[in-house]
């Protein structure tokens, strides 16, 4: 039975009372939320400097329940330190044998369901930075440490270029990198996968991450 794993976090409502964030399970193919999911915060008026009414605030605090569907094996595998991709094995496909990472369920050419392939070994041997970007700017809800060092990684034998982030050192185009995985307290999101320069000692890895 599938379970949407969700950490319970604490949040204050407007009265200052601590409420528990709800959790979600899937039972008999239905989402079953339990606990508190939103805090109703009253609106407040917006005036200009002359006291003229312009509008009101509309606070919203919501939780989405999102299905990974056929991509769930990829996110589940990250927590186990495994990087999965997919391969088109349809003998009639013009581009048969193409390997995809990001993991995609169907071949973009023939639309047949692709085969799951473990790429952990391959990427450890061949991953290199295609391009990168360092930014201090993030949007609301960001959980990554700033500055974020975005890297886009190319691999031998893989026809796509994966986007991720570098956790140790400074990125450069062409730099060899190896994957690390958040195997302790995984979030089951793409942030559970990160990269470090080849040769980085285990002691330098961020908390919760392993090779």
């Amino acid at each position: 039975m599938a379970v949407a794993k969700k950490k319970t976090t604490k949040k204050k409502n407007t009265a200052g009372k601590v409420v528990k964030r709800g959790t979600v399970k899937v039972v008999k193919d239905k989402y079953v939320p339990s606990g508190s999911f939103h805090v109703a915060i009253p609106n407040t008026p917006i005036f200009d400097e002359k006291g003229k009414l312009c509008g009101v605030t509309n606070p919203r605090d919501m939780t989405y329940m999102h299905s990974y569907g056929g991509e769930a094996p990829f996110f589940d595998a990250l927590a186990k330190g495994v990087l999965l991709g997919t391969k088109c094995v349809n003998p009639d496909c013009e581009f048969k044998g193409s390997i995809y990472l990001p993991y995609r369920i169907h071949c973009p050419d023939c639309l047949s369901k692709m085969k799951k392939v473990t790429l952990t070994g391959l990427v450890k041997k061949t991953a290199r930075v295609h391009t990168f970007m360092i930014t201090e700017r993030t949007g609301a809800f960001n959980t990554l440490k700033k500055p974020i060092k975005f890297i886009n990684i190319e691999f031998d034998g893989v026809c796509t270029i994966l986007m991720s982030y570098l956790s140790v050192g400074e990125p450069e185009i062409g730099m060899r990198v190896v994957p690390i995985f958040r195997t302790k307290n995984p979030t089951y999101t793409i942030t559970d996968l990160s990269w470090v320069p080849l040769g980085t000692p285990k002691s330098k890895l961020p908390a919760g991450f392993t090779f």
Partner: protein, 489 residues
């Protein structure tokens, strides 16, 4: 898709010609705390009516279907915002539909309206676009914009869309810009130009007289991009009204032929596979053979350096209009300068310059109203409105604003609209004493590029003075007038 079938490469055909009748714009600002969106839409509609000497009620009588471009409805916490606007414009019970393709929403809205008329479904259709990005705090706005990336594979990485684009800028900067100071300065010149042109546009949000040094000293957003390299975040509305020939001639004495082509490419740059470069009419198969030697790292196409969607949109639109060389056949362009570097990338995607040589369009002076190297009119002026950097990027309205600005040049109404002191005053602005008339003289054909984010959607809209068509009835016509050489006066 990395190989195209003959069917997919078909040049689009329309069942009957479509004409642009009139256009309108509101003022653009970072925020309008005292105005509802519909007030801005009404402003644009009123301008469209005035431009063809009609009252709004008279203009509305011609409209048969309505296409509304509005990208980010989660900013306004209002689904079916299109219906709100449609109702407030008093256009019920006409059929209407919302269009959203990210930054290309405005261009895509035009694409849809044109097809409605081309098919015969409607004789006159409205394309109206707007965006309202002032109703959430900036960091929440960044999150909402990042939702336009892949929510599982990209958004959790910083919730910052500019980061997903910036990796592409970095690649272009290192491979084709070769990280040269001279290239960095060329990028800055685009910002100087576009903020400068915005000074003469009463609709514009960010008129600024700045120097290359100012751009180079502005804060780093994501190296090599600095604050002044980036487009604006705006609120505002624009509209374009199209009709078949008979209706168009009833409405105005100078309708313009309109052609729109559209392309797409992967939402995630990650999914881009290596492929051959599809060629435009002014390119040859052999010219890119040594691209990887001239620009090491530049042999992967489109990689992270080209926008395949822009190339395909141009391919279709050029084919429809009969454009064989954009610099030769067109008189001015409005490009999607989301960032100075993506502006340069686009020059290459749409064939203004070959891949790898985009910077020359700026350095040659061709992109200016007046070429700074020669003092003569620029060969193909770009973004005289100020573009996204100087005028606005109110997403759903942007592509329509570009088309509106292009049309004003062909109609020779650019100075009348932009130079009207009453318009400046109405917006609480003073017409600058050194106001310049940026009209492109004898303008016959224009191009507007509307582009989404990392290149998921792009449209190319070509306007042609019907007395100067390049192509009639599917066949290339001998050019009615040759491209002006060296002078507009």
């Amino acid at each position: 898709m990395i190989k195209f079938s003959k069917e997919q490469l078909k040049i689009p055909e329309m069942s009957r010609p479509v004409y642009l009748v009139t256009v309108g714009e509101s003022e653009f600002r970072r925020a309008f705390p005292h105005k509802r969106t519909e007030e801005l839409c009404v402003d644009a509609m009123q301008m469209a009516a005035e431009l063809i000497d009609m009252s709004p009620a008279e203009l509305k009588r011609y409209i048969h279907t309505c296409y509304y471009g509005h990208f980010a409805d989660h900013f306004g916490d209002q689904l079916l915002g299109e219906s709100v606007i449609h109702d407030r414009l008093g256009l019920d019970p006409l059929g209407n539909i919302g269009v959203k393709t990210g930054g290309a929403t405005g261009g895509s809205t035009m694409w849809e309206a044109v097809k409605a008329v081309a098919s015969g479904y409607s004789d006159c259709a409205l394309a109206l676009g707007w965006e309202r990005m002032d109703e959430v705090p900036t960091d929440e706005g960044n999150h909402l914009i990042s939702c336009a990336a892949d929510k599982d594979w990209e958004t959790p990485l910083g919730h910052i869309y500019t980061g997903y684009y910036a990796v592409m800028a970095q690649k272009y900067w290192q491979v084709f810009g070769k990280s040269e100071d001279s290239f960095r300065r060329t990028m800055a010149e685009i910002a100087v130009k576009n903020h400068g042109y915005a000074c003469y546009n009463p609709f514009a949000q960010a008129p600024m007289k700045i120097t290359v040094e100012d751009v180079l000293k502005s804060p780093v957003v994501a190296y090599p991009l600095r604050a002044l390299d980036c487009c604006l975040m705006s609120v505002g509305a624009s509209c374009c009204i199209v009709a078949d020939e008979k209706t168009a001639r009833k409405m105005t004495d100078k309708p313009l032929r309109i052609y729109v082509g559209a392309g797409s490419h992967t939402l995630r740059p990650a999914d881009r596979r290596d492929m051959d470069i599809p060629l435009l009419p002014n390119e040859t198969p052999s010219q890119y053979k040594d691209l990887g030697e001239r620009f090491p790292g530049g042999d992967r196409y489109p990689g992270f350096t080209g926008f395949l969607a822009a190339r395909m949109a141009a391919y279709y639109a050029y084919g429809m209009a009969g454009v064989t060389d954009p610099c030769e056949d067109l008189d001015m362009v409005e490009l999607h300068d989301a960032f100075t570097i993506s502006d340069i990338q686009t020059y290459e995607d749409i064939g203004i310059r070959p891949y790898g040589e985009g910077r020359d369009y700026v350095e040659s002076g061709d992109c200016y109203h007046t070429n700074p190297n020669t003092g003569k009119p620029g060969r193909l002026p770009a973004n005289l409105s100020g573009g996204l950097i100087g005028c606005m990027h109110a997403v759903g309205a942007t592509g329509l604003m570009q088309i509106s600005e292009c049309a004003l040049h062909i109609w020779n109404k650019h100075a009348e609209i932009h130079g009207d002191p009453k318009r400046w005053k109405a917006y609480g602005k003073k017409k600058p004493k050194d106001w310049q008339d940026l009209t492109v003289r004898n303008c016959k054909r224009t191009l507007a590029i509307s582009h989404a984010g990392v290149g998921s959607h792009v449209t190319a809209t070509i306007l042609v003075d019907p007395d100067h068509l390049l192509k009639k009835s599917g066949k290339k016509k001998k050019k009615a007038s040759s491209k002006r050489k060296g002078g507009k006066k």
